[in-house]
Symmetry: D3
Subunit: 249 residues, 6 copies
């Protein structure tokens, strides 16, 4: 089945584009075409602060609308805060919209009893915890563990990053009752495999998890027409209104 998926790095930097394109291509279904984009021009290159999430909203919505016009079946919003998830689902009339946090947590909740989320900085925790609650998994959340590594530093010194994630994960497993580890930042790619083998519990990579969830939702859409309900919360604004107000310019 052909599935056309857009992975949006909602950042004004393309440093993650090629690694992500390679990562997703290595993991895709045969029939899937995946593209990776990021934002042009000057703007936030990470979304650690809600301020930066807010700043990139119009461009994110714009890209989602363009993606639908270009025939994509799904778009992944490539940040573990799942920024703009509801807005993007409103704008998309047909596409599935996927957030890495939603996809990873649903999976973690199926695979184990309690999960821990390894975040980059303590700053992330309150907002991410709101998402854990919103998705339904607050009682399965064993802990957040912060490694105090900035988003753009995860890939700088792989051994140091791995060392810190491992220590955080071990703490979660041994002291918090966790039996699944979720990597809580899309910049934490490249680590899950080795850690998982070592820790002997599932270690969820949010980029991969969201991409495969996109393929899964596209398949359900194409086969059964199961897709985001447009009745209440994900209802689309009137096209005329959106055009008048320049939503897509």
């Amino acid at each position: 089945m052909e599935k056309k998926i857009l992975y949006i790095n909602p950042l004004h930097t393309d440093v993650f584009d090629i690694p992500y394109r390679d990562l997703l291509n290595s993991a895709k279904d045969p029939g899937t075409v995946v593209d990776v984009i990021s934002f042009k021009g000057v703007g936030p290159t990470h979304l650690q602060y809600n301020t930066y999430n807010a700043m990139i909203m119009p461009e994110l919505i714009n890209q989602v609308q363009k993606a639908e016009a270009s025939g994509y079946d799904a778009a992944v919003i490539g940040c573990f805060y799942d920024p703009g998830l509801r807005a993007c689902r409103e704008v998309a009339e047909r596409m599935a919209i996927i957030g890495p946090s939603e996809a990873s947590l649903h999976l973690a909740a199926t695979l184990g009893e309690n999960f821990s989320i390894i975040v980059s900085e303590r700053k992330c925790i309150p907002e991410m915890k709101e998402n854990v609650h919103k998705y339904g998994f607050i009682e399965k959340l064993a802990s957040f563990e912060s490694v105090e590594i900035k988003v753009h530093d995860f890939q700088k010194d792989h051994e140091e990053t791995k060392r810190r994630i491992r220590a955080a994960a071990l703490n979660a497993i041994q002291n918090k009752g966790s039996d699944v580890i979720v990597l809580g930042c899309t910049a934490e790619f490249g680590f899950y495999e080795e850690l998982q083998e070592e820790l002997r519990v599932p270690v969820i990579d949010p980029g991969l998890a969201s991409f495969k969830y996109a393929e899964y939702l596209v398949e359900l859409k194409k086969r059964f027409n199961w897709t985001h309900s447009k009745l209440i919360g994900y209802q689309s604004p009137a096209a005329e209104e959106m055009n008048k107000w320049g939503v897509f310019s």
Copy 2:
């Protein structure tokens, strides 16, 4: 990717075997092989009562163990109570184990804001509500709606069944704030498509939802080795002990 999936109708009747085999074959990935089995001999032909769930447990576990020995990648427990989910996940060392309720509710929670579950009889509600809570979705549950149709009567008079499900679903949508409908019995197959078109909200068929979730989990297992955590809750009993106690005989 080759995926070998067993759909277990955990009932002592084969009346659903052929319809389900056809249903799942019509919905499978090209690489998937799906088999459908039910239980031989005399025993419960429906699981409306927890008593009957209890009665079929040993045979269910037995079949799950056999399935793993036969090389299946996943087994679906074909009843919306998800009977024996934890026990089967303990027994399976490698297979993914899927319950229709867990699969359907995860999907419903992603597709909309609030869902309603259309059950066969009021008797089902308390236990199913415990499952909704266990999976994390109690705050997204708009309502249970009972159509007061017995399990083996869903397929008797299609028009009457459809009429009752439609009425229940409309009540949920108009009065309870629901924007996704979940059919809460695996015997409610053959209805989702028409109702969905009419109601203009997703109508989740639990047999299809659980089967596709099985394919999805198998893919994640094969690609990333993400599978049920064996550390705590789904830890397997010692093989020696199981053998000694005749778990698989």
Copy 3:
């Protein structure tokens, strides 16, 4: 005590500016100076959809930063979705940031046992319910009642609007156990007083509630230096980074 407060109508229309300026001036402390602004140029004139919330985010943040630079002590985000509350609290180093929903619900929770929120359209409910939960009051929420009046129609036919709000409030009081009514849209101004007298329960006007809460928080800031904690969730991004990324341009 001098309190300088900015009420931001985060809309690309000034139709509410004068009525709100008059409303707030009629309710202010002697020492308070209140200004009301809205956004220039073409853009959303209501925020019923999350898409529109997303669109106005950069301008909202921009205005908050300008307000702080201009010496305001507090800014009210004039929409009952409380859009961008966390982002604005990050950006503001000294100002109090107030959302009408947060202010109204805190008040309602103190004044009565259970409150109902009268919203403009059913579309609003899921996101507003997330806020009710986030602020802590989900167990005090008796119901949402929708009057199905669009934001810019509340002020069109006062009698009809009043008639619908009254009917919704009566339903909440008589059938849902509610003893406080919250008007769930900042465009529902001009109605609370008459309804309150008639219904004999508090009817909270969210514009007034948020403005007075702003005065209250400013006073606490000036007297005791009690203000938004900058330690974790409301931590500010680095000024240099914000400047580089054009947050305030």
Copy 4:
């Protein structure tokens, strides 16, 4: 008042039968007759795994049905997982069915503010936590503490067992805010008295708690006809159907 109570050790071993018979006889009301049974033949001798719970289900239900036919007033399911509680309540038309966890937690919640449960192994925690939630006491649960002693080892070295339970209980009391201790395995008998005296908080023995709760429920049944509601969740299957399907053979 005559009360005829059956304590079922749902295990294929009789090692606990005599100690339990003695234990319960030492604690019974004058009018009570208590019998203790276990299961014949080869099968699980402990229920640490859900798999083993599943295996013993048919025999458990069978015994419950026989007990009712023999005139017992109540049956206790002698395992802290409360296996098959709902199924047994369905099957029993007149008897009270008691689980040690339900009985112990109700009591603990009345006697103190927060309780801790001392379990044999970490493996038990997720499922037992589901029960704590189901019975309503999740907010009173201070902690689970695992002593990592296997079920059949509790009675091997009394001093060592006591040492570990004491250490776990002290941790719960001093660091988790617990003021009641619940022994979370029916094989932890023989310890409560000494520990309670030493720790100066109630230490609940689940075997005794469930047996006395059985006497209490029998009395309520005989005096006021208060017994399990047969309207919804504990409704009995039709006798004809159960017979046809060999539930009791």
Copy 5:
């Protein structure tokens, strides 16, 4: 076993004393001695308002202290608000203290899936709901139903009272999913039996339920020394301090 129990009608009227003495004597264990008292002098004759609960507190505590000094094993606080439960448990060093709401709800939660509470007036609901939550049963609460009968009118016109309770209970059973009915006022005595037979679900009389729970707790105290934990929440004030401050005068 000898059990000496004091049932306190915490009201400044003795109109309920004789009916209650008769009621409890008809339901007691052979070894139980039960006394019923009420308060002398002028004061509240019902506790519908929290104000009246507050007014009778000192006398209630006084009587509890006297009861303990007189050798009672338990005291029941005869009002469904369970007024002063914590204070009385602090004061009592040895006695069990029982509230009708706590006793009835624990029982209802064991006997069925969901219960409804039939209260005298809507005024009662918010505070009683806080108790339902405190005891752990908020998720099992199907509904409150108010019959709008004042406390001293329940016994005036038995047929009218029965008619209203029956209507309220039927509404709860048919429309709210309730399978157990709790009579939510100790003045609703004399009705449970007939209604229960008619409605075919357990109907809990709170006076009887609390009295039998008292006998049960006394037995547990006498046999196993299981009693209210004095470590944290029910810790007693220093006797010297209480004497100095005239707690018992």
Copy 6:
């Protein structure tokens, strides 16, 4: 605006009267008149035990009624347990009634993500936790921290008190994720300012917080007639009945 506020130290000691009068006068609005009273005669001088809360109830209600008769606009119940809050709101027909806990927690929930409460003794925690839940903030509660200082010892050795509060607060901030500190006893006055400067998070003084909340609620009452709803939970008893039963004598 003139605001006449009574701060009630509900204790039979006047040792806190003058410090509180000075404290509140230093923090009042220009138009506010604040009086501070305590109780005469022999009785509890602290309310650490619920028993003592119960003992002072009649006098508290009496004073509230007198305050209303004397023209006060609000009364603060000066104890962090918020004793008698509902009863006082029933009795007051016009006045706002404020509890320090309610006022402090509402504020803390607005200022930060998670708060910790520094209490005097472990004994306080269970009841205070019930209040945290009742007000809606249980999910924002990071921890209780006990300094094990008795109420009348907080002001004995300022340095030692400060040292213990600081240590408790640091533990909360560094290990529990707290970003706001609430001082959980009205006798902990005189400490917030220095600690706040040092810890760099808001430190809420409950006496000040409740007093300013009183001013705020009075203003809302006078301007908008927003006041405690008298419809259900805070409904007043009939004056005649109160008079007959000597509520105010």
